[in-house]
Amino acid sequence: MTSPAQMAGYASDGLGYKTFPPDAVVIPADADDLARVIAVLKGVPICLRGAGTSLSGGPVAAQGGVVIHTSRLRAIRKICPEGLWCEVECGVNLNRLDQALAPYGLCYPPDPSSGPVCTIGGNVASNAGGAHCFRYGVTGNYVLGVEVVLLDGSVHRFGGPAGGRGRWQEDWKRLMIGSEGTLGAFTRFWLRLTPRAEKAWTFRATYADLASTERAIHGLVRHPAFPVAIELMDPRAVALVESSSMAMGLPKDHFMIVTEIDGPAALVDRRVESVAEVLRSAGSKDVQFGDSPEARKNLFQARKAMGGLLGQISPDYLVQDAVIPKRALAELLQLIYDEADQAGFPAVTVMHAGDGNLHPNFLFDSSKPEELEKVEGISKRLMERVVAVGGTLSGEHGIGNDKSEYMGMVFGPDSLRLQLAIPQIFNPRHVFNPLKVFPERRFAA
């Protein structure tokens, strides 16, 4: 596909206000077709794309060239219940995989909010996380093997069903996970599965101030029930839900925490009261919890609704993905609020509080150049402070081209040189996904 209209749909990922129309788009029918396309394409940048839900400007043609859309590589090739693994093509959607695993009583734990649409390929490329990764870990903890098409069209397997053990001993798959499309094109994965939790409880509590919110978070992370998720919404986020059609009677000026525990029924049922007590003793007067699917959905509803509601009130929003030490939360929130107030547009902040993954959303209008400039300035100052307090650039969205300029804030010249050496081996002219992760990675014909 090459017409300008056809390029429009592929010009951005979930970071919709930054557009990079490619010169052409190819949708291969299968993995062999994909390998052939890569072998044939010479002298143009190549960018692999799954469902395009990334929030960091990852799967876009930042330097033009060809986007290869893996939407038709969506076969779940094998589920091995005894071996606790499955083999899937890169375009398999996460929720559909979950539906396929459910009858076996198995699950693939990483759960980014984009689960209804995102693909495994994109998840592996950005080492995606999700709310429940506090206990279960991120994508990288579940990848046993990766099949990759390299620059010359040759197909290689790093790992396999046995992971790092057995016949496929090399652990090069670790290099592939989180490589954001800079090393090769993923076509197939072998993923580790776990038994589905027998029972889960969801809790929701609100807090009048940050100090009591932090007490609750600190109590939860140390609780022997080991919550699977600890989600935080700031008062602006709560107010956003409460002023929408999804209002559920939460106090608009409060912080809100949602947490979940899961495991064997006999065990988790016994722990319900003590988790609720942690939330109450930290200062919440409205702790609610439930174990029925409807009750759990309702308690999580406000958090789930956030992304969409942002879109309803603002033409654009910039979301950051910082990871911070939990002790620095107050300092960072204050900076976010001060910066937003000074710029004159609101910030709505949510956080995967268990692992310190902070998502401030700055609401702005990209059609006004001064607002775009302001928001990018805020983003940079925020990241500087994040790094200064001992945090890092990205928890789960990846670096893409949105945060590549900040790499030097975290890594010294030696580290950057070594990191850049790896794509140099696989992809010396930066054919695969140029300008991503490192701004120096510029394609040269």
Binding site: G9, S71, I313, P315
Partner: protein
Amino acid sequence: MKQTAALPQFDPLSACVHCGFCLEVCPTYQLTGDENNSPRGRLRIWREEAAGRLEAEPMTDFYTSECVGCLACETACPAGVPYGEIFEKTRHEHVATGRFKPKLELKVAAMAVGYPALFNLALTPVRALRSLGFLPHPLVFPGRPAVLESTAAYARRFMALRKPDGPRVALLTGCLMEAMFREINFATVRVLIENNVRVVIPDDQGCCGAFQEHTGLDGVEALRAKNRQAFDGHDVECVVSNSAGCGFALAKTLDGKPPVRDVLGFLGGLGIKPRPRVAGNARVYVDLPCHLVHGQKADGIPKAVLDATGYEWELAPCAKDCCGSGGIYNIQKPENAREILARKSAFLDDAAGEPVILATSNHVCMMQWNSARSLVRRPFQVHHVIQLLDPGEKALLNS
């Protein structure tokens, strides 16, 4: 610790956040894997063109014409983008400016539905053929409609015989439903009267306008104005519709004055009289029309109503996904519609039960399902759910 900058007001028209949640539910994205053939892609193309960053070009016209209009994207959208509204407006513009040309037979039909009496007369031979058991086209499903008596006359007759004294409703009889598939209207009248509902059929009602909306042709406003007048002043609790698509279109027209309800949802709220348990191995698979669940935003067909059919039933797999009918999509884009149906109907081959019955609540979906006879290897029946609730004429008169 507080911010001073206030939250902005809700603005649905700039709402798309590019999250892509619409991709997995979009039938044409599922068919093609092409982002441009998804709601997010189409919105992007339309917006780029509207902003002057993209010139009008054939591919834009193509992707616009590809949309089935099932509105599953509206259900999936977390940001409340009014996709259906934007799509209809764009399609109408494309047809008005010659960028898209609907098929001639659709243009003729669109004109004809504006004259219900003529339309009814013209389709008399089809009713006659159906009533004799001849099916002139794969989309025409079996049934035994009255050839001459209208639903209005039928309802008057049965109202006089049975004299129900419960809630009073107006029935939308529809154009194609009345002209071709009248037996469904008759069954609707019988079920309502059996449940003590007083049925009024406004004489001067016309086509709901869905046909024009689907084709992008002019004339919607005239049809809407006619129906606003026709359904005004009947002192009814609501208008009931036995077609999810027509009900959705009429609801937009009447805007709550009076409210429009799907007849099955309405019956669910009454405590419906059940049919006796059906003995044997028959099983009903219920498919939910897009314009019921995604258009009217109903949860589905009430469980109590489906239980009242007396059949063993379950939802068809992917019951909320489009069957490919899309009003007239199966005529406008037959290859796409057939492929969507092939995927959706594949389950029938191995479905439990004998006979298997596919039941839904929209006549155009029934037409599409009927055409699956050439895709599915075993025989199956297609019915409207209201037909499974039907006491039959004799039983109604004798009870």
